[in-house]
Symmetry: none
Subunit: 265 residues, 2 copies
């Protein structure tokens, strides 16, 4: 694929719990998706029911923009690639794959790209019966979320959350922030630029050693392996220059406290 | 790391909605995790409240085995690596990273492995206020789920679901199914591991803090960010139990030196 999809739609087939519909809206929006369709929901007014609005939290705009259709077909406008989400594979069904693997194949730059815009839909069956065979057969892939083999009971909203998450990560990995309107940023770990060098660590350790002698913890006549051990500890800690500054301040305070004690002798 | 963790614990700090607690139990179990702890839940009987049991669905065994504690400290037995989940990074907090990147680094075979069992905990703050600074500062990493920058409102159970999923995938990729077999087969009776657990590090830091006050380095009325900074330093250092023993010996020597000084006054 050479361009991000023009459509990413979540389609709930015959959802029976209004709360779940709201929770799916929230799960979508939190990953940057807004296109929701409901096929034959149990409650015709599900999008405005209090449980739906409450569980949607701030994603009520997704609910308001959602469409309700009588058939799956009507919900597929602009969609070129359908993914079923079903716990049990079907004979004659599409290939079953884990979401991450499938998304990475789907977005592979080497994959022949459609000439026009393309779109993806994720289909979720009703809470009680899952997806019908006829609907699964329409799909290009059947996504199977790798879960605990002894307890695979994923709630509808939890499944939608995981699919939305993996799809977002795959889109970001392939197209970067361009796949979405706006950018997200994870702050990188502190740079190593201000990490103290070996000389500074050694000087700090020499200072600390004097302080440990001053407070009577280290006997210079029988030092054992104390300083090598502290050296290893601070090597692992990778102290910054400011850490070194603080540690030397501590050593100085220890020396002063010891000096006050000795003046008493 | 050369072995899977002996402990994977989900810790909810001051959860206020019983339904969320049940949904977290389900989210954990569906990814193969069973160790849940609640710190100061709003409802003392939260584990048996109808909303919790209902949302847990078949994960009521996780609820029944969950422990409720009065402090975070008590919930950390056997844990050597703490991950915060917080939307906003803190000054002096641990490095912020996306879960997948962090898990892949943590499980990297090249990473120096502790000689004994190790354990991970994922900390989740309360629904309304998130995590307190003091709790974030204790952590080795702050996991930031890459989400829609315009709407990052992840429900507590949804966040737990995503973390559990990524952690399961990372464990499977690194250790295969054995990661899960051993996680349940091998539960450490006590933290006899060589590497100090989070509880021991915290106790050492509390002791060191007293010593720093005693020698006049730390002004309790204006502590600034000294202790969070030292916490991060020692988190990076991964002290062994013997290191802890030595550090507490140093703290004791500082206190004694200070006491001798004060007797003079």
């Amino acid at each position: 694929m050479s361009a991000p999809p023009a459509v990413t739609r979540f389609i709930l087939i015959e959802p029976s719990h209004a709360g779940n519909v709201g929770a799916v809206a929230r799960a979508m929006k939190v990953m940057g998706f807004h296109d929701l369709a409901l096929v034959r929901p149990r409650w015709p007014d599900v999008l405005t029911r209090p449980e739906a609005v409450e569980r949607a939290s701030g994603a009520d705009d997704v609910l308001r923009a959602a469409r309700v259709t009588g058939t799956l077909q009507e919900a597929l406008e602009g969609v070129t690639h359908l993914c079923a989400t079903a716990m049990t594979p079907r004979d004659f069904g599409p290939p079953v794959c884990a979401p991450r693997e499938h998304f990475s194949q789907l977005l592979n730059p080497a994959r022949p790209a459609p000439s026009g815009p393309w779109g993806v839909a994720f289909l979720f069956g009703c809470e009680r019966y899952g997806m019908r065979n006829a609907d699964v057969w329409r799909c290009h892939a059947c996504l199977s979320i790798p879960a605990n083999p002894a307890y695979g009971s994923l709630n509808l909203a939890a499944a939608a959350q995981l699919i939305a998450y993996d799809w977002r990560q795959a889109l970001l990995a392939r197209f970067g922030e361009a796949a979405f309107a706006s950018a997200f940023a994870v702050r990188p770990a502190a740079s190593l630029a201000d990490q103290a060098d070996a000389e500074q660590v050694a000087a700090m350790l020499a200072h600390l050693e004097q302080a440990l002698v001053a407070v009577g913890f280290l006997d210079p006549a029988a030092p054992k392996k104390l300083m090598p051990r502290l050296q290893q500890l601070f090597n692992r800690a990778q102290p910054t220059q400011q850490d070194i500054h603080i540690l030397r301040g501590i050593a100085r305070a220890m020396q002063q406290a010891a000096r006050r004690g000795h003046e008493e002798d």
